[in-house]
Amino acid sequence: MIRVEALRKKFGDKTAVDGISFAVEAREIYGLLGPNGAGKTTTLSMLSGLLAPDSGRITFDGVDLARDPIGCKRQLGVVPQEVAVYEELSALENVRFWGSLYGLSGKALAAAAGEALARVELTGRARDPVKTYSGGMKRRLNLALGLVHSPRAVLLDEVTVGIDPQARASILDVVRAVADSGTAVIYTTHYLEEAERLCDRIGIVDHGSILAEGTLDALKAQLGEEEVVTLHGRFEADAARAALAGLPGVRVLSAEPGRIAFTAGEAGAAGLLGDIYSRGLAIDRVAIEPPSLNALFLRLTGRELRD
């Protein structure tokens, strides 16, 4: 359905997207997982035709976005990171307006608007001004506006930022239902749990590149069975590196003042901690993490996702 090939975009000297390629099929949710500034939103901006790539190609069902932008965008639903709605209008008026931009009218528009609002459980407040809504309700409406025209592909950009867990769960359920109805979904997030729970395949993005891609299980398999150990304490990064030097199987993933992360190898964390303490490192706290996306991200990028 959606195919992205060697996409590149630079802003001045800064490379925002550096050769990203991936493909998403119908009924699939593809997650772009990465920290803020990794290039996820720039990638989505190019996919939604708002930014022209410096190079690379984007196709929807084989149709080149650059050649037929209007035709491609007609099949696409976009839900931006920001709540881009008209607060003076009601939810129904908002949905009707956005539906009409995609060519819906008359009874078809009325039906689509009602369906979109029902999907996000806003039917009961459909005629109330949006400015009276809670943050979670606005987020749900934001989602409905991208779905009103029943697109064949949906781009969702960090759509759960800043809302409570209940509203988040509700949105994730809607996204799953949308994909199950046959829509291809690209979902960007920096929440590991969301990616783990929702996405069929995940691309881990940092500095404009996809560092790893696959199903959750496949990605975890890349990490093997190694535990990731993080030590927190009163030490300098170099001192911590020196303390770990020569320990069997240890591979330092990241080091900074007061914190060092490493994989423990086959020996496991328990077998190493005694040696580390004996080397005089002032450790306050130890965290041992089983193989996870965060651990993989840490191994791939040298930093944690939430950084």
């Binding site: 901006s45 881009a84 008209y86 009409s100």
Partner: protein
């Protein structure tokens, strides 16, 4: 087209749901014009008259002509003239002015007719009342015009005047009909030849008239005032006098607000969302321009409803509709251009305020054109507000027809569509380069 209509409907609904800014803006011309009317004498305020005391010591032909000039129907709107008697003169100028509450005493010297007929210098004397501020200046201006008329007539009609003087000087005073006819033909010939050059600026009182009839002597190079149609002799009220100019200014501000909305939508990210949909940048811009035109039209209808309550009957409907259409086009084009070059909302708002205020002042929206310095008056034709204000004043105050406002319509509509055409690429570039998304 359906998409454009949806965009217009959306913008109108948004205005309807947050009506306060628009209502306040629409109230501005009504409040401003009303305050001016109240300040100068109530809601039904009339243009204040110059109360002139005419001291005619000449008593001859020219003296009577001067008296008659102030008695013309047109002049009576602005002048109230009392001819002093010998008894009145005894009181002295200062006492007379105070007693009569007059604006000025205009004294015609005893030898005025003889001097004018003989081509000798003659001096009119004007004694202004120190108790009044503006009206004595008006009287002074009119008198100076009168002096010009007399001087020009004296020079132009030298031949016939000499004949009249000789006839007057003839003992017995008898003059034959052929002689009268000969002099009349000579006068008529001179007047006919000189009419295009001299008569429009001196014979009529349009210099004084400009508050209500500034279109008559504006830089459009049009003919002087035309006679009012029968039944339209009502004195123009101050409210109606100021309403068109300030309403036009308000409409330009409203258009600014609407085009500014494009930048607001950029901030709200709804613009980005629209462009992520199946819309071209041009269509988004066209939608906003149409919304601007729609809101401006509704505002114009509201202001028209108020204006109609106080305006005289018989305003040309075709002229009014076409001028209003041209005004909406001009305001939309202007706002599109201003916000097309502005980098952000704040810059756009500042620029729009500056430009519209400048256009309002030079265009006579706030202050009658004849009160402006000549340097500013020279800029008037470059102000869109000038053409709009003058157009409405011609239609409403002067009761002229469609033909009289065709230049105004052409200039406003032309400028509006030209500005739209020029600003569209600016907007498109900004939208396509992601500057606004």
């Amino acid at each position: 087209m359906r998409v454009l209509l949806a965009m217009v409907e959306k913008d109108l609904l948004r205005r309807l749901r947050s009506p306060l800014p628009t209502i306040l803006l629409l109230l501005f011309p009504l409040i401003f014009s009303g305050l001016i009317a109240l300040t100068f004498g109530g809601a039904e305020a009339k243009v204040p008259k110059v109360h002139l005391l005419l001291d005619d010591r000449d008593g001859g032909l020219v003296g009577r002509l001067v008296g008659a000039a102030f008695s013309r129907e047109e002049a009576q709107t602005y002048f109230e003239v009392k001819t002093l008697t010998a008894e009145d003169r005894k009181a002295g100028d200062a006492a007379l002015l105070e007693r009569e509450g007059a604006t000025a005493v205009l004294r015609l010297p005893a030898s005025l007719t003889d001097d004018v007929l003989a081509g000798r210098p003659a001096h009119l004397e004007l004694v202004k009342s120190p108790a009044q501020s503006i009206l004595p200046d008006v009287a002074e201006q009119v008198t100076s015009v009168l002096a010009e008329v007399l001087s020009s007539s004296s020079r132009l009609l030298r031949g016939p005047l000499d004949q009249m003087r000789n006839t007057q000087a003839t003992p017995g005073g008898g003059v034959s009909d052929p002689r009268v006819a000969e002099i009349a033909v000579q006068v008529n010939g001179v007047v006919t030849r000189a009419r295009p050059y001299l008569l429009p600026p001196v014979v009529t009182l349009d210099t004084l008239d400009t508050a209500t009839r500034s279109g008559a002597k504006g830089p459009q190079g049009q003919k002087g005032p035309q006679p009012k149609p029968a039944g339209s002799s009502s004195t123009p009220s101050l409210f109606l006098l100021f309403l068109p100019g300030i309403a036009v200014y308000t409409l330009f501000n409203l258009a600014d607000q609407m085009m500014r909305d494009l930048l607001i939508e950029a901030r709200l990210k709804t613009l980005r969302r629209q462009l992520a949909g199946p819309l071209t940048a041009g269509r988004v811009l066209a939608g906003k321009a149409l919304s601007t035109a729609a809101v401006a039209t509704l505002a114009l209808l509201a202001l028209t409803a108020v204006g109609a309550a106080v305006a005289p009957r018989g305003v040309s409907l075709a002229g009014y509709l076409l001028l209003s259409f041209a005004l909406v086009a001009a305001a939309t084009g202007y706002a599109s251009a201003v916000f097309g070059v502005a980098r952000n909302e704040r810059q756009g708002a500042t620029l729009a305020n500056l430009v519209s205020l400048l256009m309002a002042f030079t265009g006579g929206s706030f202050i009658p054109l004849n009160s402006l310095p000549a340097a500013l008056r020279a800029l008037s034709p470059f102000s869109l507000l000038y053409w709009a204000t003058q157009g409405y004043q011609k239609l409403v105050t002067e009761q002229l027809g469609l033909q009289a406002v065709l230049p105004n319509i052409a200039i406003l509509a032309g400028a509006g569509f030209l500005l739209l055409a020029l600003s569209a690429p600016l907007w498109q570039r900004r939208l396509l380069q992601g500057e606004l998304t």
